[in-house]
């Protein structure tokens, strides 16, 4: 075996991680090519693991003239975003329930739904298919992205890995080897299909149903190969203006990731990006204990609350920077600014780390051509799932429901 071939293999392996490639409609791009205007908008999701502190997050009144401590941070783009309160996916508590932020479907009830607890980013990615290089990107470490199989999507973690994955072009040699590997994989998938057929003949009907998962996975891999082949000869580009912090601190890590998100959108590497601010983000710079999680059990102690305020402010600030940057850029594909065609959702699946409550989730939506500028509060009748369905519809996917919801939030549209 020669050494180069092996190097390439490693990078190919890495290249699979984090890219949830499910292209349900691989041939749609033919239609899209004919149209000058892109079919779909974009979505960026920024999530926090342990919620935000309600006393700083929740605005004091509904409507446009609201105020709150965190509003200071986003005052420049207040007209471009909405704060939604009193929305949740039900009131359950704990990290397990927090994981349903982007799907609305709990892990324990996922078998009741057609697409299990598929999260909105994966759902949209599936509709984009091979229209962009990666159907969706899952960056950082979190528990919010779930595939339609009900499986947690592997993430790309670390500035280096993300940069290398997205922006460093492959050498001609590497492309050749990758193409060969893909061809080989295609052959193997056929062998595996035959294996499944031979197994199927001796199984009971219930077990055969289970085997369908295997067959469906083969299908997904085939679609992945189709997409990767299609993009194989399109060279990746290193963004000229992208500068990343070396040995990043927590805040720099978030900034790095959001910077790369911006360039990934600009280069149409993907139209859906989920950035999970990981619970393991280094937080030394915010003072206090080194462990973020320990501090979220703040027990109302003021120094811990101050620590949390700093870290939450940081995350909001970096997201607002992204919003500002999108607003200042012309959309290279369509009309208007990037922000006009990009929805930015900032949210957490948990509202309070101290009580582990998952009701009244912190939700901020910006851009995407939605109606903004208000603090909207909802009652019992609306659900955070409606918010997700609103994103789906506004993104440009014409479906009559997404998981649990079939209603859009009229206040936004």
């Amino acid at each position: 075996m020669n050494i180069n071939e092996k190097n390439i293999y490693i990078s190919r392996r890495k290249s699979l991680a984090g890219i949830a490639g499910l292209s349900a409609f691989p041939f749609l791009e033919i239609n899209a090519a004919a149209k000058p205007e892109p079919k779909y908008k974009r979505l960026v999701v920024v999530t926090l693991p342990y919620g935000t502190m309600a006393q700083y997050w929740t605005p004091d009144q509904v409507g446009p003239n609201y105020n709150c401590r965190y509003a200071e941070i986003y005052k420049d783009v207040k007209q471009d975003l909405s704060i939604l309160t009193n929305l949740s996916h039900g009131n359950g508590i704990g990290h397990v329930n927090a994981a349903r932020l982007l799907s609305g479907v709990g892990i324990n009830e996922r078998n009741k739904y057609e697409n299990k607890n598929e999260s909105v980013d994966q759902f949209l990615g599936r509709h984009i298919g091979s229209l962009s290089r990666y159907p969706s990107l899952t960056l950082g470490g979190g528990t919010y992205s779930w595939s339609k199989e009900g499986v947690k999507v592997p993430e790309l973690v670390g500035s280096d890995k993300i940069y290398r994955q997205l922006f460093i072009p492959d050498s001609a040699e590497a492309i050749k080897a990758k193409t060969a590997t893909l061809k080989e994989r295609e052959m193997q998938l056929k062998v595996m299909e035959n294996g499944a057929k031979s197994l199927s003949s001796i199984l009971s009907s219930a077990d055969n149903q289970k085997l369908q998962e295997y067959q469906a996975s083969i299908l997904t891999l085939k679609e992945n190969i189709f997409r990767r082949k299609k993009w194989m000869n399109t060279t990746k580009k290193r963004p000229k203006d992208l500068e990343l912090a070396q040995r990043p601190t927590g805040s720099e890590l978030v900034e790095n990731t959001l910077e790369m998100t911006y360039w990934a959108l600009m280069q149409n590497l993907s139209r859906v990006v989920t950035v999970s601010v990981s619970g393991k983000t280094p937080v030394k710079e915010f003072g206090g204990s080194r462990n973020w999680h320990n501090n979220t059990h703040h027990g109302m102690l003021p120094d811990k609350i101050e620590f949390l305020r700093r870290i939450e402010s940081m995350a909001i600030e970096k997201t607002v920077n992204l919003i500002k940057k999108l607003k200042a850029t012309q959309d290279p594909e369509g009309s208007g600014t990037m922000l006009d065609n990009t929805m930015v959702l900032f949210a957490s699946g948990m509202s309070s780390g101290n009580s582990h409550s998952c009701s009244n989730l912190p939700i901020m939506i910006a851009g995407g051509g939605l109606k903004h500028g208000n603090h909207i509060t909802y009652g019992e009748k609306r659900n955070a799932a409606d918010m997700l369905y609103t994103l789906v519809r506004n993104f440009g996917v014409e479906v009559d429901h997404f998981n649990k919801s079939n209603k859009v939030l009229d206040e936004l549209v």
Binding site: M1, I3, K6, Y9, R13, L16, A17, N91, G92, I93, G94, S147, E149, G150, V151, K152, P154, S159, D160, I168, E184, R185, M187, Q188, V191, A196, S198, L199, I202, L203, A206, D207, K210, L211, E213, Y214, S217, I218, T220, L221, N224, R238, E243, L244, A245, Q246, K284, S289, R290, N291, H293, N294, H297, G299, M300, L301, D303, S352, S355, S357
Partner: protein
Amino acid sequence: MSLHRNCPHCDKSYRLTEKHLNRKLTCKVCQEEMFFTDNKSTPSAKVSKKVKKVSPGSVTKNKNIKRSTPNSKSPQRKKPVKKSSSLVTTFPLLLLLAAGGAGTWGYLEYAKTKTTSTTSVTPIVATANIQNELPEEPIPTEPIAQVAEPVKEVLEKVEMQVEPEVFIETPKEMPEAKVVVKEEQPVPQEPIVYTPEVPIHKTIDQHCYQCHNKHKSKGNFNLDNMNFEELDLFTYGKLETMIESITYQEMPPEDEPQPSEEESKELITWLKKLESSNKSRISRMKPKTTMRRLNFMEFKNSIRDLFNIDPNLLTSLDDFPEDQYHGKYSNNGDALQMSSFLLGAYPKVAKEIVDTVYGVEKNKDLTPLIFNAPFVPKITIKNPIRKKYKITAEDVKLFGTAGWKKGEYQDFSNRSSFEIRQFSQSASLTSPNYSGGVPERGYYEITFTAMGKNRLPKGKVIKQKTYWNQEKPLSVQLYVGNKVVGEWDLLDDKLKEYKIQVYMDKRQGIAFRLPQGFASHWANYKNNPLKSVFGAPKPSKGKTVNINDWFNFYADNYPTLRLTNVKVEGPLVLEEDKLAHEALLGGKTFEKASSRTVTNDLMEKAFRGYANDKNKLYIASYAGTSRNFENTKHAIQGGVETILSSPWFLYMVEQADEKGFLTGLSLANRLSYFIWGSMPDEELLGLAKSGDLIKDSVLKAQVQRMIESEKSWGLVERLTDEWINLRILGEMPPSRSEYPEYFSLKVEKNSRLETMHFVEYLLKENLTVQNFIHSDFTFLNRDLAKFYGYPKPENFPNDLFVKTPILNKKRGGLMGHSSVLTASADGVMTNPVIRGLWVLRTLFGEDVPPPPESAEPIEVDLREAKTFRSQLELHSSVKNCKSCHQKFDHFGYALQSFDVVGQERNFFTIKGKKRRGNKVPIETHATFPNGKKVDDIVDMKSVLMKSSGDFTTGLTKQLLEIACGREMTVLDKAAISSITSRARGYKYRLADLVTLVATSPTFRSK
């Protein structure tokens, strides 16, 4: 305390507090006057309270206790009871408290009411203890009939017309609460009335549906999920619960409108009829194990046995996609999901295995590489993505090269790891063209000579920090990649050579670290913990000390590691790898082997008895076609990739005969993955193929052989990680600064091993499972002995766990293991709920529904001198929460003797700036739901020891779940209790119990 009373005139339900008693009130509905007294302390009521308690958490419901709660309200009590005397004679259990207007249910007195005449006398079915009152009566097995018979007579003509709108949310039960419940206003609420879309049963619709519907499914009991028209297994399973709770009058809760006895009886008859008429049909619906894919652990172990290699060395398994758990268990067929991520990951593992095996041939001809120190660190790195950062000369100091003596040795005083750049992984990662690290994957021997300087002087201990401890010498850590592969204590001022063989992936490098070194950020802050011992520099320029002063100062004065003669030699060809090579290729070389033969042979093993010409054909013809590949090695790799991705390998095929019992092959597989967590060996498959395995005696002998084998570590691991739930260790680690010992003594790792050795010992030595609750021994190594405060811990071996008697009774059994206590805390505080739930779920195999959606989570407030216990007690006493919390909170209270990492404590420190150091004594007293009071954990364990039967039932259920890979349902109850009662004959010994499980019909059926 809130009381529920009804208006004597119109029967409107009110919730009252003490202040409403003994005074005139006006009914909001009929405008009549009402007067209530608290007559709660009448003897009859007291009896009812006392007996009412069931003992859910600790023991099963005491069936000796029979009670029927008084019929709280019949709206029209106009018809007096005809045969009140006959009631007493025919059924002395029922006490009739019916004197004029003296009260309808024992503790309610009507006085000064104009309408005494209309107030009918409702018979009070007070509770009593059968054992006291009716000693001659046998324990009722069909309690309903006995209760209901006389009741029917009594209540023949009493009509029940309960207005649904008076229903108020109430918990399952309302036993006496020690803690004051928040006072509630008597203003009647206007609750929403729920009615089912399809009527279920008159009484259910009236009395049950209100709280158990899709809007509010209390106790996770939702009538809308059930199908009474055509019973399914789920609904069938709930019937028993319903019958039980109505019979024992747990439901409806006592402060809710009660159905009349007649209605209860009718309902129970209806439910029983439903049960019996569906019994045969439902029993045919016996759940079967869904075809399972190998979970991560099973996949890993199978690879170990298939290829004869150590799977822990495979880097492709590091980021393997996660398994889906069903509750605690990772091998439930319904939960385990195949995914494209997994199908993409299997070939990578296959490739790595083939590469490793190939290394035996390839590395043999390589001259071992020898690199000698000193390594010149690379000063600049050309990095395309890191424009902001250039390494400067100062950074070199930061990395510890200060004091560099060229060609002789190198001193490190900094705590940051020093990567040897020639081997640095990070250097190779960030710049694609950089060829750092070792050139090939394989074993390397690393030799270095080192010593320590400036150790902490005697008598100085820096408590808050992990590594600075006068008792411990300085140490050096060796990193490969991000992992510490070795740590050695250093001699003071004396060089010594150290040697280790490590497995390194291609391009991986090595790094050394002095954990006691100076942390760079100290230079910027005032909180340098070592300043008082080692001093601080004087400013070289100006008035303030700058970072350079620190660099120069600490290099000479602070703890220092001196390193010289670093040598990396390899890759070595190991004997183990040769065995793996032999196993795959049968003595041939890659060049000479035939890929068709290799893959055919491998499939024979990998498909675990299910290989046949047909299913082998696809892969063999793919791998055997040379035009598909560059060379034979490549072809073999393609073959192994497809075999490890094949459904025949990945799924556990289970086939049954016409009676529903597993065939020999399927049984061999199920058994092997149960006890070994891995594939069956040749002996087992041979017996399966010959048909002997399905004979009881052969099966039993095999089970015993398998338990004795060292591979039964697989079951030990599963019991520890899943049953005891230690897999969550490390997810929420405690704070380093608060619990430095936890890290310096590696308690996380050691205490997990303690538990594993403990479980293994019980299994291999066949000791009673009561040891899990309390035992007089445990397994310790030196670090753990120190952590638990044993005298002379230095007498314990460091890398071996030895059986040691328990010194402190609190420590005996699982509940004294630091691993369990850490896993049942969240790293920050000890929550009695989590620990209590651990006891209930693990030791008794009981589960409680998650808190209802409407439950208000506790916002923990530690500002004032409040303990969490006081907050929790308040929460648990809320009616909605009580019925569940009383099942487990008491275990948690008793376990408060242990802190977050399982150290014993007597005080709870209240945190907060002003109150730092405030201490509150720990309260470990607890009350079981049956009223039994215990002082502490020792006391509690002695109570639990008495319920070994229940404990074994719980363990049996969970063993069956692990063994069969499915959830146990109501239909398995009989099987579980049959195993448990047989286990009693074996004095509840663990290996015997496992054998009983593995030979049981449940295990042997699909």
